[in-house]
């Protein structure tokens, strides 16, 4: 590590010791290969290691990016060893947003669980709520009414649209197309307006709860969606003009941060990152949940596994989600928006005045919570970032005994050393942006 001046006094306070990227001679061989991004290319790893050795220490510099930096991906800290502008090694350091949500989940009841998990992936909160609710319903062994299933599908696909628009906006801004930030937010506001109309909140909705959803769709929801569906396609075409077909955009993204399907599988990567390599896997179609087997949609798959493919996949997924939303609109069944099991879902407010039993159930459910039989379950869904799973161990009490969320961004971030190696520092921002991490679910 080359420093030509004294380290600042507050370095000690913000140093994370062994978690940081240290000079090459003091780390173990396995970790060195990992930071080199060579752990997967077994045949080449020796060659890469030798390449690294050939670069003398004086020619490289270890720099720190973050945890506070202008990229809008949250508090991710990256330590890079650079030779000039080329990245040799990379180590992401996370934990700057660790909130103890899994611990908090053990203190909250199952009904309060969605308020906690929704704040993990704050760009697509309804997905984590859905994973949690599906797991609890599996433990309870109950079935949610048809209408609730279709409402959940509708709302989560709207959330996928707003999450991908957020990706478009931040990806554009990170690469310098700052006007994309404004366009992305403009469209996202429309989607958030719809979500606010239905759930009451723009973000962190606590809408999908075990047993169904919190409230039925309001009157006029069809018109709101149709208005959105009419407005979006031509805006997406504008993005195509602004970004997809533009030579500078292509030069900055094509060929950058390429990964292969075997590497993705070995690293546990799912979602648009996996699909960008050409591997055709989408939980909605391959292991369907909710009513996705009754819906007709395409799974978008890339070919080169580079940043451009990931961008194009997410843009195309917005269009696919619009297709799904339209089908939900047409096929929305009538019925209950939540299961009528009195032990699980609270009674309608009006009945509380009439029936003592309803009052008692309401009281019990909201103070003590409903009891879930002992067991354990894991349910996974396809979130905009990949496979989002929830593993709950229950013990017969109203609180989860252990709640663990399998966050896709946490696992996808492991690809960073691999993607960064050999690329320039300017590409580092493009690569992080294309992985699309949300640090809330990385750190939980």
């Amino acid at each position: 590590m080359t420093t030509t001046h004294e380290a600042p006094a507050n370095l000690a306070q913000t140093s994370e010791g062994a978690q940081e990227l240290t000079s090459r001679d003091v780390i173990a061989a396995g970790e060195r290969l990992r930071e080199l991004g060579a752990v997967l290319r077994l045949s080449e790893s020796e060659a890469l290691d030798a390449e690294l050795d050939a670069v003398p220490d004086e020619e490289t510099m270890i720099i720190n990016m973050g945890p506070q930096h202008p990229s809008t991906h949250g508090v991710l800290r990256l330590m890079l060893e650079l030779q000039g502008e080329t990245v040799l090694r990379c180590k992401p350091i996370i934990g700057y947003l660790h909130t103890g949500m899994e611990r908090t989940g053990e203190d909250l009841t199952y009904l309060q669980g969605p308020t906690n998990v929704t704040r993990m992936d704050y760009a697509a909160p309804l997905f984590t709520e859905l994973a949690f609710s599906l797991t609890v319903e599996k433990l309870l062994d109950i079935e949610v009414p048809e209408r609730a299933i279709w409402i959940r599908m509708l709302m989560t696909e709207m959330n996928r649209i707003s999450s991908h628009l957020l990706f478009m906006a931040t990806n554009g801004m990170d690469l310098g197309a700052v006007s994309m930030m404004l366009y992305g937010w403009r469209e996202r506001e429309e989607a958030l307006r719809f979500l606010q109309e239905v759930t009451g909140l723009r973000m962190n909705h606590n809408y999908i709860r075990p047993g169904g959803v919190a409230a039925d769709l309001p009157d006029g929801w069809r018109d709101s969606i149709l208005r959105l569906l009419d407005m979006l396609p031509q805006r997406l075409d504008e993005y195509d003009v602004l970004m997809t077909n533009q030579p500078i955009w292509r030069e900055r993204l094509q060929g950058i941060g390429a990964i292969s399907a075997e590497e993705c599988l070995a690293l546990g990567v799912t979602g648009p990152m996996l699909r960008s390599t050409g591997y055709d896997w989408d939980l909605r179609r391959d292991m369907p949940y909710l009513a996705f087997d009754k819906i007709d949609f395409d799974v978008v798959v890339g070919s080169f596994g580079d940043c451009f493919d990931r961008f194009a996949i997410r843009l195309a997924e917005i269009r696919e989600s619009m297709k799904i939303v339209r089908q939900c609109l047409e096929n929305m069944p009538k019925g209950d928006y939540r299961i009528q099991d009195k032990k699980v879902t609270p009674p309608p407010r009006a009945r509380i005045d009439e029936s003592m039993e309803a009052l008692i159930h309401h009281f019990k459910i909201f103070t003590e919570g409903f009891k879930v039989p002992e067991g354990e379950a894991y349910v996974a869904i396809e979130s905009p970032r990949g496979e989002l799973g929830c593993y709950i161990v229950s013990d017969g009490s109203p609180n989860p005994y252990r709640m663990h969320v399998r966050a896709p961004s946490f696992v996808n971030l492991q690809t960073l050393p691999h993607l960064m190696h050999g690329n320039l520092v300017a590409d580092a921002v493009a690569i992080i942006s294309s992985v699309d991490p949300i640090l809330g679910e990385v750190d939980r």
Binding site: R34, G95, E102, V269, E374, G375, R402, R406
Partner: protein, 185 residues
């Protein structure tokens, strides 16, 4: 009568349980079902070999690896009777894309010897997951390239998700006392 299963090898060797008492086995390891999901219970010694077998059988991705602390749990029913339960469990979820199948592994880990062989060599994607399990529970993984804390600061003491680690809640006035939640948690 327990061991009537075929030896470990490639391919499924699932034995149907006879009406009396024989437990099911999958890949030579005890199998249970949890709400329709398949769960196997390898011992710590069986774990590395089982992972290799599963990798060859098409389970190419480890979806998730996490720990559970059963210190204050009233009693687990999902574990076969012949498996000695310990305080910690490491739960590994794998997926087989070709057969669209999931499999869960539950390995019992005693608290006084909290170690498990690392899955990093077979599945590099477990690197961050094992670090998180180490950070939150104190379970070490032998063969992991860089077993350091990942979520907590470097000099933090203790392992937060253990049941005997206090949640660190500061009592807040004007709210109902924490007693309206089960205080034992």
């Amino acid at each position: 009568m327990a061991d009537e299963a075929a030896p470990t090898g490639a391919g499924d060797t699932e034995v149907e349980a006879t009406p009396e008492v024989a437990p099911e086995e999958l890949f030579g390891v005890l199998l249970t079902r949890s709400g329709g999901q398949l769960v196997v219970h390898p011992s710590r010694e069986q774990y590395p070999k089982l992972l290799r077998t599963l990798h060859d059988a098409g389970y190419h991705m480890v979806i998730d690896l996490c720990g559970v602390d059963y210190l204050t749990h009233p009693g687990r029913t999902g574990v076969p009777a012949s498996v000695a339960t310990e305080r910690f469990e490491v739960v590994v979820n794998l997926i087989n894309h070709k057969e669209r199948a999931r499999l869960r592994l539950r390995v019992q880990i005693p608290v006084d010897d909290a170690r498990l062989p690392s899955a990093f060599d077979l599945y590099p994607g477990t690197e961050a997951m094992e670090r998180e399990t180490f950070d939150m529970f104190g379970i070490s993984f032998d063969g992991h390239p860089d077993l350091t804390r990942i979520l907590m600061p470097e000099d933090w003491l203790g392992h937060p998700l253990r049941k005997d680690y206090d949640s660190g809640r500061i009592p807040v006035q004007f709210k109902g006392a924490p007693a309206n939640r089960p205080a034992t948690r």
